[in-house]
Symmetry: C2
Subunit: 257 residues, 2 copies
């Protein structure tokens, strides 16, 4: 049975998509059958894996959420044998209003995943930078939440809101929701700010913070324009090394819980 993990943080640009893609590819290279679901209308998980807009018309998470298609009919292959992708189509942006009237609007993704969970070891869900209906669907469908956290001042500000949202979901819609872990991203060892934020994050989240810290590394921001994960783009880079260590630490922690 798949372990379902939602990658969420309503602060924008903290590395949700970068973590989703590089973790998903790491897991698939470790022979874990992995499914990546992109539920962000921006579709960055798709474009970062080389699946462009044109290939995504009419067959994506939007059609599944409004009940037009089964999830198994929209799953795409990727360059990586053990990694499959559920793309987002541009129409998703309008779905939030459409879904407001659904009786089980928070459970739509969870219900859709029931039929395929047995086919995968891990299901990752990339979410948009908001606490709206799509992220809510991710939190309800997931076993746990992976929180990428940029080492910057504004990131700490948003933590209270995110934890409040997780608590609300845990008290009602998804009683089993746990925090998988907090991953510090874009760390710049030359700045005091990064060191201060890391200290605060460790005080706040204690053992939930991964030991691996992802440094700021331009190769990570170049890889998506080539449609590959960091390991293919530049396996010697600091970014590749960090996401590789994170993958191992993630498996050790996730595998045991």
């Amino acid at each position: 049975m798949a372990k379902t993990i939602v990658i969420a943080n309503q602060k924008g640009g903290v590395g949700k998509t970068t973590t989703a893609i590089n973790l998903a590819v790491f897991l698939s290279k470790d022979q874990k059958r992995t499914l990546l679901i992109d539920i962000d209308p921006q579709g960055n998980s798709c474009s970062g894996l080389g699946v462009n807009f044109k290939e995504r018309t009419g067959n994506g998470i939007y059609e599944v959420l409004i009940g037009k298609k089964q999830i198994k009919d929209v799953i795409l292959d990727t360059k990586y044998p053990d990694l499959k992708l559920v793309p987002v189509t541009l129409d998703l942006a309008g779905a939030q209003v459409e879904m407001m009237g659904f009786p089980r609007k928070e459970y739509v993704l969870k219900d859709a995943l029931e039929s395929i969970k047995k086919d995968y070891d891990f299901i990752l869900i990339d979410t948009p930078p908001s606490l709206g209906l799509f992220t809510l669907n991710g939190l309800v469908a997931a076993d746990s939440v992976l929180i990428p956290m940029q080492s910057e001042f504004y990131s700490m500000e948003g933590m209270a809101q995110l934890l409040k949202a997780i608590k609300i979901v845990k008290s009602g819609l998804n009683k089993n929701l746990a925090v998988e872990g907090v991953l510090i991203t874009m760390y710049d060892s030359r700045t005091n700010l990064s060191k201060q934020v890391v200290e605060e994050v460790k005080n706040y989240f204690k053992e939930n913070v991964y030991h691996t810290v992802i440094p700021r590394n331009v190769r990570l921001s170049e890889a998506p324009s080539h449609g590959v994960a960091i390991y293919e783009y530049d396996y010697k880079s600091q970014g590749a090394e960090a996401y590789f260590h994170f993958g191992k630490e993630f498996l050790k922690k996730a595998g045991s819980s």
Copy 2:
């Protein structure tokens, strides 16, 4: 009569708030009566100016949007004499669902601003990283849109969606909406990626792109933790110099249109 400018880009972490704060302070220092409205539930424009969560209960943009308060009753002073702030309260996150049933749900902010436009030279609106109802209210209330654009691959991806949303608003809800300009942010002259994106942005937006480019500069990310704009935090930094030049270029362009 105030010129109203909405700062928008649904891609997360591109420098919307950093631009909103540093432009608002620049304008106020140039004796322009300026109002900054924070309509992002994260409230980063507030915290970046030293207005913390506790000071914002019960008196913010949320109360205005649901009709409980007049906008003039929630305007706060800031450290800067000619800069006033409309804060966001935490309840805003829930307002989107509440407002779905309003007859003029896209015009609520525009209507609220009518009564105070004569008191200001500029009104700036900081928006969340999405194309939801709050950003839509900003696009309908504004005369023009200022688009901060990070020099990264995913930023270009989102441009088509943003321009489509602007076009839709222009065709119906706000016929006068114009593009004020595109500001390139977090530029790193050492990387090819930055150069490539800038090239593409200039091809795409032509004379709408500001000549001033904001470099990546850690002092910009440190300033908000002190609750001041970059000019006070470190006026000799590259970040202060860049936002100062941007302010002048902005006034030249905005003043003349």
